[in-house]
C-alpha cells in the first residue's frame, strides 16, 4: 500500500453502522491502512464515543435501527461542527444522502462500496479539513 502513510500518525475514524460484521471487517482492513477505527453499532453509541474522544473523520450509515441517520448527523454537527462526516446510503436512497449534504456532511457513498473508494474519501475529507 502507500508506504508514506505508514509512518504518519494513524487517522482516527469513527465508524457508525449497525451491521456488526461489516464494521468488524472494515475496521480490521482499515487498521492495516493506518486508520484507527472506533466502532459504534448505533447512533447512540456513536454520540457517546464522540463525547469521549476527538476524531479526524466519521463514517455514518444513514439506515440504522435506533435513530434516523440524518438526526445522528445533525447531532454530530452540533457536538463537533468541524469534524467531516461521510455518509453511507443504500442503493436508490441518494435522496437522503443529498439531504445530509445540506446538513453539512462532507460526502456520501453508496453501499456496498469499494474499500479503496471509502479510504479515498476519508483522505479527501482530512485534506480539506486541514
Amino acid at each position: 500500500m502507500n508506504d508514506k502513510k505508514e509512518h504518519l500518525e494513524p487517522v482516527q475514524l469513527l465508524l457508525v453502522d449497525d451491521e456488526r460484521g461489516f464494521v468488524d471487517i472494515i475496521s480490521k482492513r482499515m487498521g492495516k491502512r493506518n486508520i484507527e477505527v472506533t466502532k459504534a453499532f448505533s447512533g447512540t453509541e456513536g454520540i457517546r464515543a464522540l463525547r469521549g474522544q476527538d476524531f479526524d473523520v466519521a463514517v455514518l450509515d444513514l439506515k440504522m435501527e435506533d435513530m434516523d441517520g440524518i438526526e445522528v448527523l445533525k447531532l454530530f454537527k452540533k457536538i463537533v461542527p468541524d469534524m467531516p462526516v461521510i455518509m453511507l446510503t443504500g442503493h436508490g436512497s441518494e435522496q437522503a444522502a443529498r439531504e445530509g449534504i445540506q446538513f453539512g456532511a462532507f460526502d456520501y457513498l453508496t453501499k456496498p462500496c469499494e474499500l479503496e473508494d471509502l479510504i479515498g474519501k476519508i483522505h479527501a475529507a482530512i485534506e480539506k479539513r486541514r
Partner: protein, 578 residues
Amino acid sequence: MVLIITLVSLTPLFLVSGIILYQFHVSYKEKVYDHLGELIQKHTQNIDRFLKEKLADIRFLAETFGFEDLSDEAFLRDRLETLQRDYGPVFVDLGVVNAQGLQVAYAGPFKLEKAVYSKAEWFKKAMNRRFFISDVFLGLRGLPHFIVAVRDNWKGTHWILRATIDFVAFNNLVENIHIGKTGFAFIFNTKGEPQTKPFSDIMPDRKTYMHFLTRTEPEKNRINIVEARDHSGKKKIYVSSFLKHGDWMMLFQQDSSDAFADFRRAMGVTVLILLLGVFGIVTTALILSKKMVNRIARADREKERMNEQIIRTGKLASVGELAAGIAHEINNPVAIMVEEAGWIEDLLEEEEFRKSANLDEFARALKQIRTQGKRCKQITHKLLSFARKTDPRVQDVQLNDLIAELVELSAQRAKYAKVVINTHLKAGLPSLKASPSELQQVLLNLINNALDAMEKTGGILDIGTRLEGANIIIEISDNGPGIPEPNLEKIFDPFFTTKPVGKGTGLGLSICYGIVRKMGGEIEVRSTVGKGTTFVITLPAKGGAGESPIHRRETTERQPPRNHHTSLTNTPPEQRYE
C-alpha cells in the same frame, strides 16, 4: 328498453290523438245532423206551403164563385187559364163534381166531361172533409197525379171543386233536394207508397222507410235522424220529416261516407301523421337505444381493461417492492463476504505467507470471490434500479454506458427470444442532462417492446447512437413484423396496446413519450409491415440547454420517404428539474 321508450312516447300520443279525434267526430256528426235536419225541415215546410197555397187557391175559387158560376165550363176554363197564367202549369185541370160523384163541369186537356167519380176513393174522402189533398194515383187518365179538392154547399147539397196538380212540377220540388253525391229526398204516403218519381237504384229499402212511417204521433212532429245500414250493408243517414198533417213523409237518405267525406279526409290525414309520428318515434327509440347500449358496452369493456391494468400495475409494484427488499438484504452479507476476502488478501501480503506454494492459487480464489461479489452487487443494483420509483433528478448521463448496461440486463431475455442485439455506439458522445432512471425506463421499454415483437420468430435488434449537431440520436430498430399504419397513429396514446389483455398496460410508450418530451427531445416511430420498426429518439446533448435544438422539419427530411413517419413533438426548450 326499446319497448319501454316506444310505449312511453306513444301512449300520450295515442291518447291525445284518440280524444281529439273522438271529440272532433262527435261535434262533426252533430254539425252534419243539424245541417241535414235544418235542410229537411226547410224543404218540408216548402212543400207543405206549396200544398197549402194550392189548396187556398182552389178554396178561394170555390168560395168566391160558387157552384152555379163554376158549373159553366167556359167560365171554368177561364179560371184555369188565370191560374195557369199566375202559377205556370202547376194546375193541370179543374173540375166541378156534384154530390153523386158526377163531374158536372171540366176544364183541362183530358176528355173527362161527365166523368163519374162516385166510386173513386178520393171522392169518398173529399166528401167527408172541407179540404182534401189526395195521394198520388193514376186515376182515369193513367198518369200519376194528385188532387186538391174543396167541398162546399149549394142548395143544401155538397159539391166539390177539384184541381189536378201537375206531378212533374211537384216532383221537381223534391228532386231539388240534393246534397253531396248520394243525398236525395223522397216522399211516401202512410202506406209506404212513393209520392214522388222513384229512382229505383237509389230508393231506400221499404223496410227502412216503413220503420220511419210507424212512428208514434209525437215523433211525427219533429225531425228524426238515424244512421243505419241498408240491405247491402252500407252505412246511411236517414232523415225523416212528416208533412201534410202526417199523411206524407219526406225521407232523406245519404251515404254516411258521403256525408262525412270531409271528416274522413281529415281523419285520414291525422292517421297518416300519427303513423309517421309512430314510425319516427320507434325508429328514434331503436337507434338511440342501440347507440346507448353500444356505448355502455364499450365503457364496460374499457373499465374492465382498466381494472386489469390497475391490478397488473399493482402486482408489478408489489413484486418490485419485494425484489428491492431482498436486494437490500443481500447487499450487506455480500459486502461483508467481499471485505472478508479482501482481508485475507491483506493478510497474504504479510511475510509468513509469501513463501506458501499455493499463494498464487489463494490470490486467484480471492480475486474470484471479489469478482463474483461485485457481480452480485451489480445484480442487486439493477434490481433496485428497476424496482424503485423513478428518480426524476437530472444528472450527467453517459448514454453509451447506460445502453451497455441495459443490453447486458436484457441479454438473457434476448437469448430466449432468439434475438441478437447489435449495438453501434458512437464513441465519445457528450454526456446528457437527464434522469438516468427515466432514460433507462425509456430505453428498456423500447428494447422490451422490440423483444416482444420478435419473440416468436427471433431477429436482430440494432441499437445505435450518433451525434448530429447538438443532438444525440438513439435508434432502436428491430426486424419484427412491423406496425400497421392505423396503429402507428395511436401508438403513443395512453392505454393503447396491441398485446393480449393482461400482457401489456398500454402505458409504456406513452410514458416514454412523456419522458422524452420532458427532456426536451422527441421520439418518432417508423414502421413497415413485414420489415420491422424503428424508434428514433432525439435528445439535446449536455450544454444544449436553452437552445432549441431540434426542428421538426429537419427530422422529417431525414426520413426515407417510403416509411410511415409520425413526428410527435415540437420540441420545447430543455426543461430542468431541480
